[in-house]
């Protein structure tokens, strides 16, 4: 009877295990296997013939400077997104949390950028930043600030920050929605009680809102880090990774290895190292969040 019951339990979880194995474990196993091989993605794959050990990882970690530059640049965009994108999202969420006129309209407007196609956003902003036809330069000229006009995306000093700004503009809507949902879970009585005790707006924000929003901050920051580190379509449609390597990010490098250089094995090793980095960052964030929750 007990065996039968156990068997039934296993049968119940079998579909989930199977789906997880087919769609997660097997692809990961395959990527790991490929990362140990030199393979162009076209020829017939033969593990023993293509096996090169850890050479791809060695090259990636110790010789590929462009890869680490790409990681650094993705980190830079992530830092900007963490600070400015989330600050903007929080401010707007707090504004919409109050009973203001037309609150729903603002919510729709703020949530519009995330639902737009990244390619379309990239192309539109490329046009705005364009040095020849660009709307930004046109406005600067109209305001008499022609000395500020430049090729925003071709200038190594401005290209990455321009992409980062658009990424923040495109992404703040996600944070906005999550922050708004978080703010709405805070009982209003707490605000009223604080006000009765004579607390001003800043004190209420500091002593009531922030402590209760910590789990939401952590969730948003993890999502921001994971989403921003993997930024890709926007880069591809705006700069293609240029000028030089100034806007290259890990995913554009993986694509370059896979399609540009036909190095599937190397691209897989890049994918694994990138995954490990993201895992480590997420792990650190979770540890910090646990620590903060305890505090």
């Amino acid at each position: 009877m007990r065996i039968r019951s156990n068997l039934e339990n296993y049968l119940f979880v079998l579909p989930a295990v199977l789906i997880f194995s087919v769609f997660y474990i097997y692809p990961f196993y395959k990527v790991f296997t490929l990362s140990l091989c030199q393979w162009d993605g076209i020829a017939n794959f033969n593990f023993s013939q293509n096996f090169i050990g850890l050479r791809n990882f060695k090259e990636l970690i110790f010789q590929d400077k462009v890869w680490w530059q790409a990681i650094k640049q993705a980190g830079y965009i992530t830092l900007i997104a963490l600070i400015f994108q989330n600050a903007l999202a929080l401010v707007l969420a707090m504004a919409c949390d109050r009973d203001i006129k037309g609150g729903n309209i603002y919510r729709v407007i703020f949530y519009l950028p995330p639902v737009l196609s990244e390619v379309v956003v990239g192309l539109v902003w490329r046009w705005i930043y364009d040095g020849n036809y660009g709307l930004l330069n046109y406005w600067l000229n109209s305001l008499g600030w022609s000395h500020l006009t430049m090729d925003w995306l071709s200038n190594p000093r401005t290209a990455l920050i321009c992409v980062a700004i658009i990424h923040c503009w495109k992404g703040f809507g996600w944070g906005f929605i999550i922050f708004l949902a978080g703010l709405q879970t805070i009982p209003r009585q707490l605000y009223e009680a604080a006000r009765v005790d004579g607390a001003n707006s800043w004190q209420i924000f500091k002593k009531v809102t922030i402590p209760l929003m910590i789990p939401v901050f952590i969730l948003v920051s993890i999502l921001t880090v994971l989403g921003t580190m993997q930024v890709f379509v926007l880069i591809l449609s705006m700069t293609g990774g240029g000028p030089g390597y100034h806007t290259e990010v890990p995913v554009t490098r993986i694509l370059a290895s896979m399609v540009g250089s036909s190095r599937f094995g190397y691209a897989c090793s890049q994918g694994i190292i990138f995954g490990v980095i993201l895992l480590a960052v997420s792990f650190i964030q979770i540890r910090i969040s646990k620590h903060m929750n305890k505090a």
């Binding site: 162009d40 040095g131 020849n132 071709s154 705006m238 030089g244």
Partner: protein
């Protein structure tokens, strides 16, 4: 949960499990080859030619009763991925094209995906081969003793030919006081013309150098002109370093263009479509572009008055050689059940009438030599320079992709004043050394 409920649940789970497994097995098993009754299936990426190709497919069906289906997968990056995935799953169509380097082409052949067309080409006293431009065929040919260890033969059928050269806007040259019928022929004349254009507030050269292969193309034209083919190929073989003064001279041309303000604003991240818009809208006097631009410019401004010329030469020691050859080619799937039909269709598609139709409809240079009669004058200028063409796919040796990337990205860095020609030469050579070491 009572016993009946448990049994129903178990039944549901087991059934789902069986369905899931069946779907997995069906989708993972090699697909059957398309049956002959289905006709010929062709995959391509040429959105600008799709309509004309569909029309030809209908015509072919009317004439022969064989149904031909053209399936368009664009953009080209997505197409490239699709072809590679299909090769891995043995689901390639009867006819397809390969976008990429000769190395990729060779991999497809070695993996047994491409049919050798040599016998068909040489049948009836080379009837088919002789119709086509030799330069276009050369791109699809692997010669005896090739570096890729591919069995010698012709593995693709060129649909059109193309070459990439310099274009000049006659109206803008005129407005700068230059003779539009006598564009600059030498590098110094080119720089001088640009100074005059700059005085009039007209931008000089525009090109899609954000798509880095076009930088490679421009640089290699000048490498051939400055040092000649043998030395360029010796560099690829690893016998001449990139730090050679001739290579530094090639890199220095980009520095000169940068310092003289020849290059249009934003050229380093510009995609070719934007470059084409700028040239067609009279925003730049010169463009570096391929013969496909005739169709593009016609769509943007049918009255655009422009001419084509070889890039202004730097040296008289070696000829100016431009990239050219087959623009797009089709290959026959070796494992297709319709190999004969596919070959017959491609033969028909490259016949005089069909090629003339394609040239007329798409403003591309036909691959058939007999179909050049009715092409526009500007396209004829491109056709006249076909003898001056070369292409990395016919060199017999191939540079490491990572070296090419370092080379091209480095030139972008020269244009944005980050690197000097000398520092770039050092960097490219270091990368070359690293790759050569790996080979050992």
């Amino acid at each position: 949960m009572n016993c009946l409920q448990k049994k129903i649940c178990l039944f549901f789970i087991v059934s789902s499990f069986i369905v899931f497994l069946s779907v997995c097995f069906i989708s993972c098993s090699p697909q059957n080859k398309p049956s002959q009754a289905e006709g010929i299936k062709i995959w391509h990426w040429m959105s600008d030619r799709d309509e004309a190709l569909q029309e030809l497919a209908r015509k072919y069906e009317t004439q022969t009763g064989v149904k031909v289906t053209f399936e368009l997968y664009a953009p080209s990056d997505a197409y490239t991925q699709k072809i590679r995935a299909a090769a891995q799953t043995n689901t390639l169509p009867d006819i397809f094209g390969i976008l990429g380097e000769k190395r990729d082409f060779a991999s497809f052949i070695k993996a047994g995906h491409i049919y050798n067309l040599t016998d068909d080409m040489i049948r009836d006293n080379y009837a088919w081969e002789n119709k086509l431009f030799a330069k276009a065929l050369a791109v699809n040919e692997f010669k005896e003793g090739n570096n890729f260890n591919v069995e010698p033969g012709i593995y693709g059928v060129p649909m059109d030919v193309t070459n990439i050269q310099m274009l000049y806007n006659k109206d803008l040259l005129r407005s700068a006081g230059l003779d539009p019928d006598n564009p600059p022929r030498t590098w110094d004349e080119f720089l001088a013309a640009n100074r005059l254009l700059k005085e009039k507030g007209i931008q000089g050269l525009v090109s899609g150098w954000g798509e880095i292969w076009m930088i490679d193309c421009f640089a290699s034209n000048y490498a051939f002109n400055i040092m000649g083919e043998d030395k360029v190929l010796d560099t690829i073989r690893g016998n001449v370093p990139y730090t050679d003064p001739d290579w530094i001279r090639v890199f220095d041309l980009f520095r000169q263009m940068r310092d003289e303000g020849v290059l249009a604003s934003g050229v380093v991240t510009m995609v070719n479509k934007t470059a084409e818009q700028l040239f067609a809208n009279n925003r730049a006097a010169f463009a570096f572009n391929g013969s496909w631009c005739v169709n593009v410019y016609h769509g943007m401004d049918p009255d655009l008055d422009y001419g084509a010329m070889l890039p202004p030469r730097v040296s008289d020691n070696h000829p100016m050689v431009i990239w050219g050859g087959a623009g797009s080619s089709f290959m026959v799937n070796k494992s297709s059940a319709n190999v004969e039909k596919a070959v017959a269709f491609l033969k028909w598609l490259t016949d005089d009438d069909q090629q003339a139709f394609l040239a007329r409809k798409t403003n591309n240079l036909p691959s058939n030599k007999n179909s050049l009669k009715d092409i526009p004058a500007i396209l004829a200028q491109f056709a006249n320079d076909m003898d001056n063409t070369t292409h990395p796919n016919v060199w017999g040796v191939a540079e490491f992709p990572i070296v090419i990337e370092t080379f091209n990205k480095g030139i972008q860095s020269i244009i944005i004043k980050e690197k000097t020609p000398e520092s770039l030469a050092e960097e490219v050579q270091a990368m070359k050394k690293r790759e050569l070491m790996k080979m050992k």
